[in-house]
Subunit: 300 residues, 4 copies
């Protein structure tokens, strides 16, 4: 990083690794790791606690939970259901006041027309949306004593709407007054080894320049007035990044990244990205449905 070349990654995990081998001792950063042998899921919790640490890692102060599950790549429905439940467990930890009954707006960022960027819209398609029913008929409509009000929106990308995503979401938040906003986005990773098999949950929201679609405006507690949880999956790696990393790894690198002009606007992705996005979207929808479902709340 010191050479001025900004390796782009939306994953706090990778940002931490890129700082070097001594990362466990970065001041102001606390890390917890756990591994479940049965589900083969590794959970890493990176807590960035000081402004200095935030600056060093290029990520805002907050909590970043990463789930890594290699088998997420496979088309095994039962396994995806398991991961949905692990994900739901983690999600409940970062959603403030998650045991209470609250109103939650889920925002699907990205572009439905660009496969690698369609994660957000696809997640929203499978959500169990309840707000309109509860407002009209009460919780009784679902035969429950406790029930969250779930609403959702796919704001679309600026090139299609002519508006910043933040303008649309802010307008909707002011009209419908949710207690918390959950934002879903496809991410860019630094290395292909985490592609499509890693989920990051953070309570810091979305910051300018992140995501596959490179959204410009922030969706954070500061901008929206309510807590913003972001869920992301890395679906692409910048092609230039991958080549630079390969050069470094091959120990041929002079320390200065090469400029590969022809790799501009190119990305690396998996061959089965279309099917993968569908599976991952469904898995995350399920996780949110489990998290926000009234019965689940009660059973705990």
């Amino acid at each position: 990083m010191e050479n001025g070349f900004k390796i782009r990654t939306d994953l706090a995990l990778e940002a931490r690794e890129s700082v070097g081998e001594t990362q466990r001792e970065i001041r102001g950063v606390e890390v917890e790791e756990s591994y479940n042998e049965e589900t083969e899921v590794k959970v890493t919790k990176v807590m960035i606690q000081t402004k200095n640490a935030a600056r060093d890692l290029g990520k805002p102060v907050g909590t970043y939970i990463t789930l890594e599950a290699p088998a997420m790549l496979e088309a095994d429905e039962d396994y995806h259901r398991e991961i949905s439940e692990v994900l739901a467990g983690q999600l409940k930890q970062v959603i403030p006041n998650s045991e209470a009954e609250q109103s939650v707006l889920v925002v699907g960022l990205g572009n439905r027309e660009v496969t690698a960027d369609a994660l957000g819209p696809n997640v929203v398609d499978n959500l169990f949306v309840t707000r309109h029913v509860i407002l009209e008929y009460g919780k009784a409509a679902y035969n429950r004593t406790k029930m969250n009000l779930v609403s959702s929106i796919v704001p679309g990308v600026m090139a299609a709407t002519g508006m910043e995503t933040a303008e649309i979401v802010k307008g909707v938040v002011e009209q419908t007054k949710p207690d918390v906003v959950i934002v879903i986005d496809a991410l860019a990773a630094r290395s292909t080894k985490r592609l499509n098999r890693t989920v990051q949950i953070t309570n810091t929201g979305i910051h300018p320049g992140s995501g596959v679609g490179n959204h410009r405006s922030a969706l954070t507690k500061e901008s929206l007035g309510v807590p913003v949880i972001a869920i992301g999956v890395p679906t692409v790696v910048d092609a230039a990044t991958i080549v630079n990393d390969a050069l470094e790894k091959a120990a041929y690198s002079s320390g200065k990244p090469k400029v590969f002009a022809e790799l501009n606007n190119m990305y690396v992705t998996s061959k089965d990205i279309d099917a993968t996005i569908k599976r991952l979207s469904f898995m995350i929808s399920e996780a949110i449905n489990i998290t926000l479902d009234g019965e689940f709340v009660e059973e705990e």
Copy 2:
């Protein structure tokens, strides 16, 4: 109508016809008709001027312009371009202050996943959206001296978002402050003879219970605070309506409409509705693009 059965139509033209043969003399309703032999387009302008007339026709006070063009059904690109221009001419008449430079939000109502209801979302897909570019780089980006700021949104349907369409649109209007809102919606007609070959433009906005998707909340100048122009095309007829009309026409009717329970939630549509919706959407997008384009404004 007097028998209590409400024949459902979103077309002012049909509402007027349903009142009876003497319709030209309804008090408070002014009608202008014109026919262009070359384009074979019939334009009917119904102006509902009094509250009494509004009550009689079941439509709010305002101007309703209807274009009827039988050839609209055909897959003739050049003809659709012609209709787009006729449509643009009419649109400019109902958009307040249309010769000035203004900010216009286009709203595509309806459900992308339901073919007959996807007109609104499809129209928005083909729009020439400029607001974000002009705000960032000025009109110079388009090399023009006059240029409207065009933005657009597909709010989605309540069953998917958990929010009233009006809540979403109101939020976006308050954040982005357009001068005028144009709303596109698929309509229900009373008779198949106008299906997919009629466009209605009105300055009264959208009212509860209209449209194929039966939106509950109003999108009007009262609810949004800015003028609302609605553009609609009838894409379906209620199946019960069509049967009742057939009975009446066959002179077998006792005057009381039958209840055909099995026709609930059934509609009549054309066999090639999927291709038709694509063509109509493109035609309307083009009309809006022509209307809002800076050069066109100047040339006049």
Copy 3:
């Protein structure tokens, strides 16, 4: 029928009803009915045994099994799984030699771009296809001792391919030599009460002029050289048919059907046809997967 107006239906059940009240005694037609209270599925087996009976009903000699399940309309996954199993049970009865290991080609008729006609293509999308794997690696690849070779094709409609469906299917059959062909098609019914909640299975194949898309050429044992099982679901009713039926029912009919020219090329379908087709397609895919799965074969 005697008045020369051909009420169009692809369902043998409806053809039988249309002949009149004494249908149970039509010579050459045997009927078996059963009702399962738990699943609420009514199964009717119509066996047309003589050429005379075939002529009277306008359907070829053969077996027609109809499953009627009102709840099929609902979005209940578990229920659809149950129906898939009932369907699989019936399917095994009409597939010749179904307990043996054989090669089965599944053909998805219809037009992917026309919602009500997309049943066939959608069913094929969810099939468990095995032929290529078994030919390359043997049954061992699936860890089974018995395994059918399943292949599938979506031939497309004549307007898009320039070829008769039968030409394409015949060519594929001659190259790949399946033991049996299963054809899936969306049907036209006479009455809306069976729409989307009835499945017909027949061992007579597909005959000219049937189906939503009105295929011209036959897919039968005669034309293809192997047994052809057809599975169909009525997804539309001709609009003219529905109006004529209403007139008759209202006892206003003079016995002569009216000609409603404006209803030409119009059909009646349910408002949620897009979602319905997806659900029904998945249900039928599952039924075929269960039927052709090796393990299921063994367990019996």
Copy 4:
């Protein structure tokens, strides 16, 4: 190549370049180049004339025409129309007997569900198909004296059909007896600089292992019995290839390619691949429509 690492490319142009600087003098290979300043299209014709040359380049004996047009990447409709015409001109040179009236089957290879591999199916969607109309009504239906019979098929990929593409196409060819087959496929290139801006036309058909979807079986004059013209556009580069090329270029390469296991099944593509594929498909459809259109034939 001599180091045993097979740089994968479907372009004869790249195969030729990879042999080294002295390529113009490869025995048995003739090369013609032309450049049009107005359209900015470079046409390279590589004729592989001997078996030795074929072995050296890893491409069968035959003619390979490559159009390179950088502006093909831009969303300029008029320019794409121009390229369609240049393409049509070249296509007529490789189609045997193209001035005669003949029957042509167009085959769209690839997977509709995988964006980068959907070129073939999309091209077929926009074709002007005539065979069924001419067989039924004669050329008079199109008011022409000369008219080709055009038919088309999207066979689907083996994972979905359980059949080799060649089995399906061979079956259809035997049934419908076209005079020539045109096959469309998305290709893999070696370098990103040709991605989405190069079209290759060849009279050698499709060979095992080529294409984005890696089809196994050949579609050639030998396998089908009629001449096979292949049209392809490179839409992806293998990620491993791109990294190895970068290493070589950076002069760090030891001559031995690295094995980047994590790049398996990864490819590099452009960020706007979804929109690009639509544009390219339309451009190629138009080229084929122009080539096969009767009037065009006559005007010459």
